[in-house]
């Protein structure tokens, strides 16, 4: 796990040790990682949360790295994303499920919000209970109650409305050209995204596309 200094772009080893895998907690370089996935930094607490086999918390000042209680998954499952929930706590992606974790409770567990441990195809206007996903790679709140998901194996961008608790497809993929109206545009191997006030940026196998969604 490297530390990148902006401006100078200097890269230093921050935590773990090069070439040594593992899952151990500990102070920065004592900790071990195995293919860590997404990270998110809470600007209020200045803690960094890291998705992987367990959800882990990095204290930037105490330099301790610890697994959060009750977040380590059974074999074969892995957290594929983590982000700050606008209502508090964390939203966690686990390949086929969207979960929440309450950071204010000492006895918190991962609560299923949508999907289950079985992968499945996208469906239109599914309730949270009925929705199925197939490898959730990334997510971002584009509005306080609208979570945009990258459903990679379904090659789909999907929207979770946290108020109505309905999952919809953002766009019909694969029927038009690469550069097209969003209703016809073709996406391939979508796997990551970010967004600003005007565009959603999507990483695919090869290109990065942008989808205008504001104005």
């Amino acid at each position: 796990m490297g530390l990148v200094s902006y401006g100078t772009w200097k890269i230093e080893l921050y935590a773990g040790e090069c070439g040594i895998n593992g899952t151990a907690d500990g102070a920065l370089k004592e900790a071990r990682f195995t293919f860590p996935g997404h990270m998110v930094r809470d600007p209020v607490t200045e803690l960094i949360y890291l998705a992987g086999k367990c959800l882990r918390k990095i204290h930037q000042w105490s330099k301790r790295i610890n697994a959060l209680p009750n977040t380590c998954l059974k074999d074969g499952l892995v957290h594929t994303g983590v982000l700050i929930d606008p209502t508090g706590g964390l939203v966690v992606l686990q390949k086929t499920q969207v979960l929440k974790y309450d950071l204010s409770s000492n006895n918190a567990t991962l609560e299923v919000v949508a999907g289950n441990e079985t992968n499945g195809a996208a469906c239109e206007n599914c309730t949270f209970i009925d929705a199925l996903f197939d490898w959730l790679s990334d997510a971002k709140y584009i509005l306080p109650t609208i979570l945009l998901l990258v459903d990679t194996e379904n090659n789909q961008l999907r929207l979770m409305n946290m108020t109505s608790e309905i999952v919809t497809a953002l766009m019909s993929v694969g029927q038009g050209s690469v550069n097209d109206n969003y209703k016809r545009a073709k996406l391939l191997n979508t796997h990551c995204l970010t967004a600003d006030e005007t565009y959603i940026y999507v990483g695919e196998l090869g290109p990065i596309t942008k989808i205008s969604y504001a104005g």
Partner: protein, 68 residues
């Protein structure tokens, strides 16, 4: 309101597999996208021009090495 989909950046075909592991983050400047995962390099993509610039590492050589 959703509008058009356009290609911002097209990876070199030889790097297509490497770019599968792109992870996009908003850069602090808000004028570019940070791409920490392009093979073994760290890059930024200009949101205005789509130009991809490597800022650290080497896109074809992996390894462990700290430095500026």
């Amino acid at each position: 309101m959703l509008g058009n989909v356009t290609t911002l950046y097209q990876a070199d075909p030889d790097l297509a597999n490497a770019s599968k592991y792109l992870v996009l983050k908003q850069h602090e400047s808000d004028t570019s996208l940070l791409v920490p995962g392009t093979s073994s390099a760290l890059g930024v993509i200009s949101k205005k021009t789509g130009v991809f610039t490597i800022v650290a590492g080497n896109i074809t050589a992996s390894g462990y090495k700290e430095g500026a």
